[in-house]
Symmetry: C2
Subunit: 468 residues, 2 copies
């Protein structure tokens, strides 16, 4: 492809994206294909000769689009928000065009320095504790690919700190114990498993009726484990659980963690971005006691995946856990201490210039736009809650302070399951199922950039109609 062909096809693809996002409402929300359909529509073997690029773009419509579940659709109420925005898409494009590696400061200084600044801008915009700022004495932040990676990095830093680095050289993790509720994200258990800490060393702390961690139970379990000669080392407080958006009490848990010497990780992947709006800044409560924290602009701020903000108040532990310096990666800048090498703050070595999409988004007014969107989503969710409460066939099964409502049919689990399946099959909306203490619930996550009250109303009317 020549530069001029790139211009031609690039302009066409930009237009295609604008048209897609403008018209996304016309698609069924969820793909209607069966397993194997997409592959069967494509050649089983690679082409032997170049194909005209217009045919490739045509296949986006012919082959790919029927296999897309539209996360940007205004009636996408499934999983969690994964909203994108035009400036962020351009940021991703710019990063791909530059094609630089940001593993070390020296491999492209702007990739590191814009990222550090964006982490500090976000610390301000979210009102996070100053000790997470890169200019603080012991803290700092980095963009990770996902909250799963942030969780794992947090576990590794905690493991390093509690063992004085011994695990890095000796490898016996068997005495370490971690804590979270059953409502914590699956990446918690996965991260612990990856780190060599078995599931039997993850204590499931009981939750209260709002699905939030019981701090008293946490304290009791820590004491029991200490008495058994084990080493409590890491606790995860979720600020906005995936299933029901419950908020663990960080301040109470943090006080215990601090006293007992555990690393406290606060996982606000889904809901932390709400703090952009001052009235929702309570989501940050207690974070001054957290050793690490993450939240995802790629969920609810229009910065397309992947962009997870990972902050720590103890960068020495993080670097202790993740630094390795082979000869071919040495640089004078890093050895002077004046530069950050983000490869030592993350699991992989390589990294894209992900800060560009955050920079583009914030400068184009994306933080302000996100506040307006967040307010619209929260208001729509609260309106939905009123509608649900007024329909005697339904009930709400969990607190709903922000943009997720968990509802069910009083007729029971089977009826609720059937309702979700029936609603999703219409293609007019998409919901996800969860189970809360044995109760099947329909999760209504209000989070697409294009979602307005009218879409929430239509989704609710669909559920009402199908409930019979």
């Amino acid at each position: 492809m020549t530069p001029d062909e790139f211009r031609t096809h690039g302009h066409a693809l930009i237009d295609w994206i604008a048209e897609y996002l403008e018209g996304v409402e016309q698609y069924p929300v969820a793909s209607q294909v069966q397993p194997g359909d997409i592959r069967a529509a494509l050649p089983e073997h690679p082409p032997l000769a170049p194909e005209p690029f217009t045919e490739v773009l045509a296949d986006l419509d012919r082959v790919v689009m029927p296999g897309i579940t539209h996360w940007q659709h205004p009636s996408f109420f499934a999983y969690f928000p994964g909203n994108s925005s035009y400036p962020a898409i351009l940021g991703e494009l710019a990063a791909a065009g530059l094609g630089v590696q940001g593993m070390s400061w020296v491999t492209s200084p702007a990739c590191t320095e814009v990222e550090t600044l964006m982490m500090d801008w976000m610390q301000e915009l979210l009102g996070l504790p100053a000790r997470f700022r890169s200019t603080s004495a012991t803290g700092g932040g980095v963009i990770h690919g996902s909250a799963s990676e942030a969780t794992l990095a947090s576990i590794l830093a905690a493991r390093w700190r509690v063992t004085g680095g011994a695990i890095n050289s000796l490898g016996d993790t068997s005495h370490l114990v971690a804590y979270a509720t059953s409502q914590a994200h699956s990446s918690i258990e996965k991260g612990l498993r990856i780190a060599g800490i078995g599931a039997s060393q993850l204590r499931v702390v009981p939750h209260d009726r709002s699905f939030a961690m019981r701090a008293d139970e946490f304290a009791r379990m820590v004491a029991d484990d200490r008495a058994a000669g084990l080493t409590p080392f890491w606790v995860c407080c979720t600020r906005g659980t995936t299933s029901s958006m419950a908020f663990d009490p960080v301040a109470e848990v943090g006080a215990i963690a601090q006293r007992e010497g555990l690393w406290l990780h606060a996982d606000a992947a889904m809901s932390g971005i709400a703090a952009l709006a001052p009235e929702h800044r309570w989501v940050n409560d207690g974070l001054e006691l957290a050793d690490s924290y993450c939240t995802n602009p790629h969920k609810w701020m229009g910065v397309n995946f992947d962009c997870d903000l990972f902050y720590t108040a103890d960068r020495a532990a993080l670097l202790g856990a993740l630094s390795i310096l082979p000869e071919y990666l040495r640089s004078a800048a890093a050895e002077s201490g004046a530069a950050i090498d983000y490869r030592d703050w993350q699991i992989p070595l390589g990294r894209r210039f992900r800060a560009l999409k955050l920079w583009f988004t914030i400068r184009a007014g994306g933080a302000t736009d996100a506040v307006a969107m967040i307010r619209r989503h929260v208001a729509a969710t609260q309106q939905l809650a009123e509608w649900v409460a007024a329909d005697g066939r339904f009930e709400i099964v969990a607190p709903h302070p922000l943009n997720l409502l968990c509802l069910r049919l009083k007729a029971g689990n089977e009826a609720t399951d059937a309702l979700i399946v029936a609603a999703n099959e219409t293609g007019r909306a998409l919901f996800t199922r969860t189970v809360l203490d044995g109760v099947v619930a329909c999760r209504v996550s209000v989070g697409a950039r294009s979602t307005e009250l009218q879409h929430v109303r239509a989704g609710w009317e669909l559920l009402q109609q199908l409930a019979g």
Copy 2:
């Protein structure tokens, strides 16, 4: 930003990228800034109001470009190839525009199915063993973000297999022992550390004069560890080491690994793509004995970062290590066994539609283009070797079968170090230093898409001139 503004700015950015890549040669290869310079050129605090997007794009030139080290520059001889191409950039743009999550088949079937097909297309194009194909009885492949992640996944699958899954529940890694040479990539030790296997459990297998693993020493060390009551479980053969592009003998090591029940991982991140050219397919020698394998189209195939191909012949072990299924991620398609959920094949949960850039690249003729580029780079490297051999001041310090030449001044380490620093300071080329068994060497990695023989000649003349 409105859709029409996106069209306008998007077209401008496409043109900007074409202009950048056409004119990249005019820049100094390495950024000339000092730590802090880029940040100082930007506001310390986030903007309170939206800025015109034309100003953001102008700042790409004003602020970002001085901080870029140009991996696409034809005189970029540092680190490893990180070449991009126009079709791949468009693939990244399309993925950002669609904004879908590919964590499960059901969250966007096309994201999974195009990826599976691309892994199979690449298995064919590279001539890899059929047991890595997704249609094989026990194998399959997945796109990872980087070889570091592939290495970690391999370690976790091996750990799972050798312990019958016990580590996932019990967490005692202390008896496990891994093997690699001192020339293996830093991600090997880092992956083991992450997995809770300390550095003291990583045996550094001696290498021969070509910096390749000695299979006899590997066998001896495994026997010693068994005699000591330990459990040898994982060995890494590198096909193209980072420092000098050495090739560990996979067939010999594999025979021992198979006999002794170790998982053999073959890391061909940097050089495996050479197999696109039939005359270089020897890089695959012995892979039929590997349990897992990775190579990076984001290094030497014009598919911009991130795109690592990770194959395994034992997907059950990989899934055993990495599967977790919370209620909110269940789907009928996955439970039927008819669909792949790639979240269980990788470290994070979320994933972008990375297969698009591979699909776009291959269909636009990128595999053929890559073969031509690989041949050009290898020929230029061999020509360079002749020039170096003819200059009595220099010597070549390692075998150079492909596109990396390690050279030094006979005057010694200090002189060689000084030469590298002096050459890089000119901005006319960029080299990386390494140390091979105590000998400082200048690595000349010939791998940018735009690199022609003339650039290699100019780089060599620069070194000659500065050698005094």
